[in-house]
């Protein structure tokens, strides 16, 4: 066992961990922070993405001991006083999630992206979070959510087609239907 001291979502922890313990398992099983989920075990899906000293990492690729002395931020630590982070708000409002299992990792990866690039183009969003898999959304509304949040995080009003609605729907007029009961 090795002792580590970390700050996680603003709180300080000192714990004994086995050297082989992955950061994600430390977060989930020792700290009970199950908002960070495990999707693949092989560092492919990115569902477990957290910030380690402000940088996005897949927490299944980091040993807990590597986080010793560091600041870890998870999906549970980014809203402030009950106010959602703009990225959280955008994923919700832009229908950027369905089952939501990828969402914690997507949000953490996207915040890191927008910290580096305040106004990413659609291609830059795609390039920036390509290490995170989603099986439900086909990624379309995730791109829109990240762009909307980038605008809000950097004080820009929403502009351009990609910032408007979560889904451009073109519906045809349909004959009225009597309601069955």
């Amino acid at each position: 066992m090795t002792q580590i001291s970390v700050r996680v979502d603003g709180a300080s922890y000192s714990d004994d961990v086995e050297p082989r313990t992955l950061l994600v398992h430390y977060l989930r099983e020792q700290l009970g922070k199950v908002g960070t989920v495990v999707g693949c075990d092989t560092s492919n899906c990115g569902a477990c993405t957290v910030h380690l000293d402000g940088e996005a990492v897949k927490s299944c690729t980091v040993f807990a001991v590597q986080a010793d002395g560091s600041e870890v931020t998870t999906i549970e630590g980014i809203s402030q006083n009950g106010t959602l982070h703009p990225m959280q708000k955008a994923f919700h409002e832009m229908h950027g999630l369905q089952c939501g299992f990828c969402t914690p990792g997507m949000i953490m990866a996207s915040i890191d992206l927008v910290n580096d690039n305040p106004d990413p183009s659609e291609d830059e969003v795609r390039e920036g979070i390509e290490g995170n898999l989603c099986r439900c959304t086909g990624y379309q509304n995730i791109v829109r959510a990240v762009q909307q949040a980038a605008g809000e995080m950097h004080g820009r009003a929403a502009s351009g087609t990609s910032h408007e609605s979560p889904a451009v729907v073109d519906t045809a007029a349909a004959p009225h239907v009597a309601v069955q009961s």
Partner: protein, 778 residues
């Protein structure tokens, strides 16, 4: 043809007659709106409790020991050593199953724990519970199973040979569907044919299987689990546990995607057995690798198709043979065969038809439900052949499909009347008319090219291709199944505010059913605040979250329960107001008169009472098909979609970049347009995945790639931007006119991508997923 509106977006649907435009207040978040999903905040803050997040103070962990062999006889199992591992609380084998050691969706042919034989790699043999999952795994490794390895049936094309070993008695045929319509000896001046092979696809939901079983004081068990149908799980669990339903209570835990992969049982009985044995809560969570062995997959298929046509491209006949590898247990193979047979020629008018569809047992992984359910495999064949026909008669791919496209009033190949919209030609025209992506720049960024930053090309050898596909899919359960949903709705005043509570057992798996349930309650009851009760078996069955059926069937039940509640409330109001019920409406927490005048408040009518009603909703009955001819009204509703794919292909290296994937779909009525489009996006990605990259590679009965390192699903860079057009041709037989949404996109997207790659490289490409060597011919 009914006209399309402009880009005005969806209009709020109104059921005229009960809600004139003079309404004093209008509750937001009704059907046709896109209110935010009620679980959205929890999901973006990490507070949503997926099944894998569940925790109980004194819980222990369960693990499964699985067979390493595709086919073997079990000579003996020695658990002695495993029991000595400190921390182990139970080790169970088949002898410990108290009820019938069998489960299965359609036939209970699968042992809970293997008895005498194992029939596929990964079949559960024993269970261990321990105080830590690693302890349990180490103990499981100390269980000694003596296997006598047996010859395995691993090529489904030979499963029915006389000398093939029998996976089950009496033989390896699960179902043969025979369909004959029209003149069987007819000939045609133009004949095209082909063979197509479809690989085994995985649902690859991101949240692996998990559940928590809690033993109860009454001797029963409460299971919290991620699933698609609580009540069909309960039925199977009762059989295996030897308990009545009141002692086997299921609760839906957070579901991290499903796509068909959670229709069959996974941890359910295993965790419950361990909980009942140890007297402690037991949690089981699969790793990604175990998940590949822990659920059924999409059937691999071998298809042989022939079309005969007039010289103008009009279809005269079709003959098809479809073979589906069901793997070691039946699961839903018979129903998948039903779809592949009855819908396997696509949304076309074909007067003379012969189809034979087979599902067989092998010692490969069991296959069952996945989004698109039998239609996906068939669509790769009928759409490839449609392009062959286009070439043969000198038509373009859109025109040949439009010329043969099904229309309302037609009869399909089982003789069933298509009694609502069938806009095949229109959907194709819409995608054909959408703007094409710009041509690639000569100095395009590497990332826009096939091979990307692999720096495999700077544009040389890259050819653009465009492909089309169209499909139709049955919505709801077919072939005579009693398909229904139950809903309980309660209306009461809480803290001065009217609150509706909707309780169904219908599984929310991410698609947004709970939002739809709220929208229906708001629409029917005119109250804004709707609480979605946790999903469990304390209310009647909600049916399966599959077959694109929940908005239709559970939506119908919620509507019916709301109407029943409303009737009670309005009857009370009519009595106290001295008016006719027919003159009253419920809106904005008010009782409103015929001309929109507010007569009294809901609070005054309800007082301290809660009004609660429970209703079942059944869609129109379907019927078994004739065993000789395959004729009959097998399905209740059909949904149509079309895709156009644009790809860039490096024809020298066989690499593909999907540039655009655009689609049009008729959804009848978009209850929640955001959710509808989200389903279309995600479904399209899964179809594209099967066309280009997704395959569980099975050789000699062994799965070779059970990880996301080796089983590839589309990333955000694989998936291009999409244009989505939604039509709303109401189905007059369905609640609000809805048509199921979730599956059609998965069916038509893959064949469109395959067609585009074919168009680019000029090779026939008769197998999906398409591999580089198929494109280069090396």
């Amino acid at each position: 043809m009914r006209g399309r509106s402009g880009h005005s977006g969806p209009s709020v649907s109104t059921d005229a007659g009960t809600r004139p435009a003079t309404t004093a207040t209008t509750t937001p978040g009704r059907i046709g709106d896109s209110p935010l999903r009620p679980d959205g905040t929890l999901k973006v803050t990490g507070e949503f409790a997926y099944a894998s997040d569940l925790w109980h103070d004194d819980m222990v962990w369960g693990v499964t020991l699985r067979s390493p062999h595709p086919h073997a006889r079990i000579r003996g199992i020695d658990i002695t050593e495993a029991l000595t591992v400190p921390g182990v609380t139970a080790v169970l084998t088949a002898d410990d199953v108290p009820g019938e050691n069998a489960f299965g969706l359609e036939h209970a042919d699968q042992p809970v724990l293997a008895v005498e034989f194992v029939r596929y790699e990964g079949e559960p043999v024993a269970l261990v519970a321990a105080d830590h999952p690693e302890t349990a795994r180490r103990a499981a490794a100390r269980i000694r199973v003596e296997y006598e390895v047996l010859p395995a049936v691993t090529d489904p094309r030979h499963a029915m040979d006389d000398d093939a070993p029998a996976v089950h008695r009496p033989g390896n045929l699960v179902r043969h569907l025979q369909l004959r319509r029209g003149d069987q000896s007819v000939t045609a001046p133009v004949v095209v044919s082909l063979d197509v092979e479809v690989g085994m696809q995985d649902q690859a939901f991101l949240g692996p299987e998990s559940g928590l079983a809690v033993p109860a004081e009454d001797g029963g068990v409460d299971l919290y689990v991620a699933t698609q149908w609580l009540h069909v799980d309960q039925r199977q669990m009762c059989l295996a546990l030897g308990m009545p339903p009141e002692k086997v209570r299921l609760h839906l835990a957070g579901v991290g995607g499903a796509f068909g992969g959670r229709e069959d049982l996974s941890v359910h009985v295993h965790a419950s057995l361990l909980a009942l044995r140890t007297g402690k809560p037991v949690k089981m969570s699969y790793s990604r690798e175990e998940s590949f062995f822990g659920h059924v997959h999409r059937h691999p298929a071998w298809l042989t198709y022939e079309f005969g046509a007039e010289r103008d491209g009009t279809l005269v006949y079709a003959r098809a043979r479809v073979l589906l590898d069901g793997g070691a247990y039946a699961s839903s193979t018979a129903a998948v065969v039903g779809n592949a047979g009855t819908l396997g020629l696509g949304p076309y008018r074909i007067p003379n038809v012969a189809v034979d569809a087979y599902g067989v047992f092998t010692n490969n992984p069991p296959c069952g439900a996945m989004r698109g359910f039998g239609c996906v495999q068939a669509a790769f064949a009928h759409e490839a052949l449609m392009d062959e026909l286009a070439d043969a008669v000198g038509l373009d791919p859109v025109t040949v499909r439009q010329r043969n496209g099904m229309r309302e009033g037609d009869r399909n190949i089982t003789g069933q009347l298509i009694d609502s919209a069938a806009p095949v030609a229109e959907l194709l025209q819409i995608v054909a008319d959408l703007p094409l992506p710009p041509q690639r720049d000569a100095d395009a960024d590497l990332r826009a090219l096939p091979g990307s930053v692999g720096n495999t090309t700077h544009g040389e050898g890259v050819v653009r291709g465009v492909g089309y596909a169209v499909t139709y899919k049955n919505i709801g359960f077919s072939e005579g199944f009693d398909d229904y949903s139950t809903a309980r709705v309660r209306l009461e005043m809480t803290g001065g505010e009217a609150v509706a509570t909707v309780h169904t057992a219908a599984a929310e798996v991410g698609q947004g059913l709970i939002t739809v349930e709220q929208q229906i309650c708001r629409t029917e009851l005119g109250v804004e605040r709707v609480v979605v009760h946790p999903k469990n078996t304390a209310v009647g069955s909600g049916g399966s979250t599959s077959a694109s059926r929940q908005t239709y069937v559970t939506g119908g039940a919620v509507q019916a329960a709301c109407v029943a509640v409303r009737d009670v409330v309005l009857a009370r109001a009519a009595a106290s107001l001295g008016r006719e019920v027919s003159q009253l409406r419920l809106d904005g927490e008010k009782i409103v008169g015929a001309s929109g005048e507010v007569l009294t408040g809901l609070a005054e009518v309800l007082g301290e009472d809660a009004v609660e009603e429970t209703r079942e909703y059944r869609h129109r009955p379907t019927h078994a098909i004739d065993p000789e001819t395959g004729q009959g009204d097998a399905h209740v509703q059909f949904a149509f979609s079309a895709h156009r794919a644009v790809v860039d292909v490096d024809v020298e290296l066989g690499l593909v970049k999907v540039v655009a994937l655009d689609t049009a779909q008729d959804v009848g009525k978009a209850i929640n347009p955001d959710a509808v489009v989200g389903q279309i996006h995600g479904g399209s990605a899964q179809g594209m995945g099967l066309a280009l990259m997704e395959e569980i590679v099975v050789t000699d009965g062994h799965v070779r790639n059970p990880s996301f390192t080796d089983y590839l699903i589309p990333t955000i860079l694989d998936m291009p931007p999409m244009q989505v057009k939604v039509l709303e041709y109401a189905d007059p037989h369905a609640p609000y006119g809805v048509r199921g949404v979730g599956e059609p996109p998965t069916i038509s997207s893959g064949p469109a991508v395959a067609a585009a790659v074919r168009a680019a490289c000029g090779r026939p490409l008769r197998r999906v997923p398409i591999r580089p060597e198929h494109i280069t011919g090396t």
